[in-house]
Subunit: 194 residues, 2 copies
């Protein structure tokens, strides 16, 4: 793991996905790897942490995830939004998608799938096989094995967003995203420090 990034406690890793950011899904199997954009990812449980991810049955990512039983959820910063859109628009079957999108990667710690540079947090995940959900709904349940974040962006269980380029983003439609916006605390926030 790149030394500039810090481990996120597993029981707190749901906080990385709680606000609904778009993700890049990375996968690898038998010497092939791929990256795909996905908005349909969210937490399922706290501890042990689990996530849900919808993976269309026609994608190369689906093939690699089914073969390896692993994937990573990478949370892109706004600075690489163009590449996120590209990763959601072309198929890895038509050539190496890292090369085509210009996205670069580094090694994960628990899984073979690579992690994407320019992201601000990462969740390394192992699929909990569930053929009814996978075949019936393209729905994958996975356990989070490790979680990482750029500590300037996420630390002590909170997001900070020090600059626009490292702000998480949310997919809208038609090539448009939202940046994660202003943070605000509610009146009785003191009673909700958990």
């Amino acid at each position: 793991m790149d030394k500039q990034f810090k481990s996120v406690a597993l029981a707190k890793s749901y906080l990385l996905l709680n606000h609904g950011p778009v993700t890049l899904v990375t996968s690898a199997s038998a010497g092939r790897s791929n990256v795909m954009a996905a908005s349909w990812a969210m937490p399922l449980d706290f501890d042990p942490p689990k996530v849900l991810l919808v993976i269309d049955r026609h994608t190369l990512t689906r093939e690699l995830v089914e073969a390896s039983g692993e994937f990573a959820l990478n949370l892109p910063g706004r600075a690489i939004a163009d590449q996120v859109l590209a990763a959601g628009s072309v198929s890895g079957r038509d050539g190496d998608k890292f090369a085509r999108t210009g996205l670069t990667h580094f090694s994960a710690t628990k899984i073979a799938a690579p992690l994407v540079r320019g992201c601000v947090a990462w969740l390394e995940c192992r699929v909990i096989p569930n053929s009814a959900n996978q075949l019936g709904h393209d729905l994958f349940i996975a356990q989070v094995l490790a979680a990482w974040a750029d500590p300037q962006v996420f630390s002590e269980d909170r997001w900070h967003f020090p600059d626009a380029g490292r702000t998480t983003i949310h997919y809208q439609a038609g090539g448009s995203f939202f940046s994660t916006g202003e943070s605000f605390a509610c009146q009785d926030a003191e009673s909700h420090q958990k």
Copy 2:
């Protein structure tokens, strides 16, 4: 349905949830109704549209949803964030949560669960029973039967957010939310108008 709100085409209703906003889940059965805050809701399929929702087994909402097979996902605007936090902090078992939070409601069109005023979009949903997911993961799959939006906030398949009070919000932790932030289009957005 309140005349000021407009129907959202079912096949486009996933756009209401695509960016990961927090939701209020409403439910009703046998004369009781409830409202609960939930971040763990997302689209599962386009057409017919389906959604995923995690409902903790100890909640009154769980009891009402299991009894009725229905719920609504209400998307609150920032103006009612305090009430959203309250709806996520107290239990409907301890008294009428609408009365306690100050949230008010109006009638849905396809389900008995009420819809919450101060929200900017609503999805009326019917559970697709799946005991393995419900019992094993507190996970509900539901079909969207009807979807509605404040047309000043969502129309022609896009969000507009005319003022801060009607901006959707994303739950962070510890009583803090993010507003949905700046909208921006990517370079090759023209090829993604779908």
